[in-house]
Amino acid sequence: MLARSCLRSTRAFAGLRNGAVHISKRAASSSSSGSAAESPLRLNIAAAAATTVAAGSIAWYYHLYGPTADASTPAEEGLHPTKYPWVHEQWFKSFDHQALRRGFQVYREVCASCHSLSRVPYRTLVGSVLTVDEAKALAEENEYDTEPNDQGDIEKRPGKLSDYLPAPYANDEAARFANNGALPPDLSLIVKARHGGCDYVFNLLTGYPDEPPAGAQVGEGLNFNPYFPGTGIAMARVLFDGVVEYEDGTPATTSQMAKDVTEFLNWAAEPEMDDRKRMGMKVLVVTSVLFAMSVWVKRYKWAWLKSRKIVYDPPKTNNIAPRR
């Protein structure tokens, strides 16, 4: 199509050129009076036709390929999470460990009834979220299998720091059965596992509207949440003002709890973040110093070569006979 329109335009240009030739001929000869009256009309017609063809072909091309075709509606896509200015996502900032502590409390009291956190052992909580004694006390609240004893029986023992956080359900099937067929995902890596990361989790937790917008279809047993792809989510709103009572007296509003638990989940997914940022800073500082030193050493070593002056001193021409 494009090629055809290009051809047309060249032909139109050819017509223009012919007209120009005619005009020049007429100016030169001034004898043929018959073609002189026709040439401006034909010229105008050719120009108009070429323009309409070109414009029409562009329009047709746009009609065919211009508008984008969406395979899914915005509702199926889900509302993109709003960006929030997370402090811990800045380059020189660490996690707010008070927030992590509060977030872990929210996880334990609210989320843990359905969601597991299977990749986090108690020992990683020590020092970053809890103290040793708190973590030990928390681990001892749960029972774990021992190694087989002399008779081959497996007994129960209280948890240790090396144990992992217990899951609310024995396996995925039990979790599905208990939750009307919907599997609550493991939250260990959820911040890394979803588009939008922290923003998505925060928006999802706080984004439940009081009632779905008019005309929206909400499936049976589902709840309307604009941020969940498809807008029908099996998890109901769980965070309400004052569900948790924080030990440090922070007002437990919905958004505060969501923020804390999101930061905690980000810690669960990236426990190495603080160290990673510090290490990155060290690497940048040391390598920049070393780079500056290497530049200086290179210039120092090459100084004699770069600063030399090459002078051509021609031999004296006294002995040679003068040129003509």
Partner: protein
């Protein structure tokens, strides 16, 4: 941990009288001694209280009613305190929804809700307001995001 801490740690580790603790230093020792003293004190005070116990109930009855009233008042206050946390997100987003910035989105959403509800009352509605809701929610949350983060801890 500073450079000097490392040196002092090394020195402490090398000295023969130093003790190495795997965990935080035990606080039990002073507590045990105080516990001993308190038990002795308790024993001595028990005798006194036993003698006084006969006199106390009569004295307690009078302020008991007042205390109950005070407790009730305190409970009410506590309940009020518990009700106090209001989500700033809702308020900020409501402000943003009504602001000039989001007025086009709100206008479209309101119009859509009106149209769809009237269509539903007449018969089946052939559309929903999800897209309009998305635009409004996007505008409101984006407008409220920095304000919300300045309020939250």
């Amino acid at each position: 941990m500073g450079f000097w801490d490392t040196i002092t740690d090394l020195v402490e580790a090398a000295t023969p009288w130093a003790t190495a603790d795997a965990e935080a230093p035990a606080k039990d020792l002073p507590e045990e001694t105080t516990a001993d003293t308190t038990t002795k004190e308790e024993e001595s005070t028990k005798a006194e209280t036993e003698t006084a116990a006969t006199e106390e109930p009569a004295a307690e009855e009078e302020p008991a009613a007042e205390e109950e009233a005070e407790e009730e008042a305190e409970e009410e206050e506590e309940e009020e305190e518990e009700e106090e946390p209001v989500d700033p997100k809702e308020e900020l987003e409501e402000e943003c929804r009504n602001s000039k910035q989001c007025s086009p989105a709100k206008h479209h959403f309101d119009e859509c809700v009106e149209r769809v509800t009237s269509a539903e009352s007449e018969g089946g509605a052939k559309e929903d307001c999800v897209e309009e809701f998305f635009h409004l929610a996007h505008c409101a949350t984006q407008c409220a995001a920095p304000k919300l983060w300045s309020v939250l801890k």
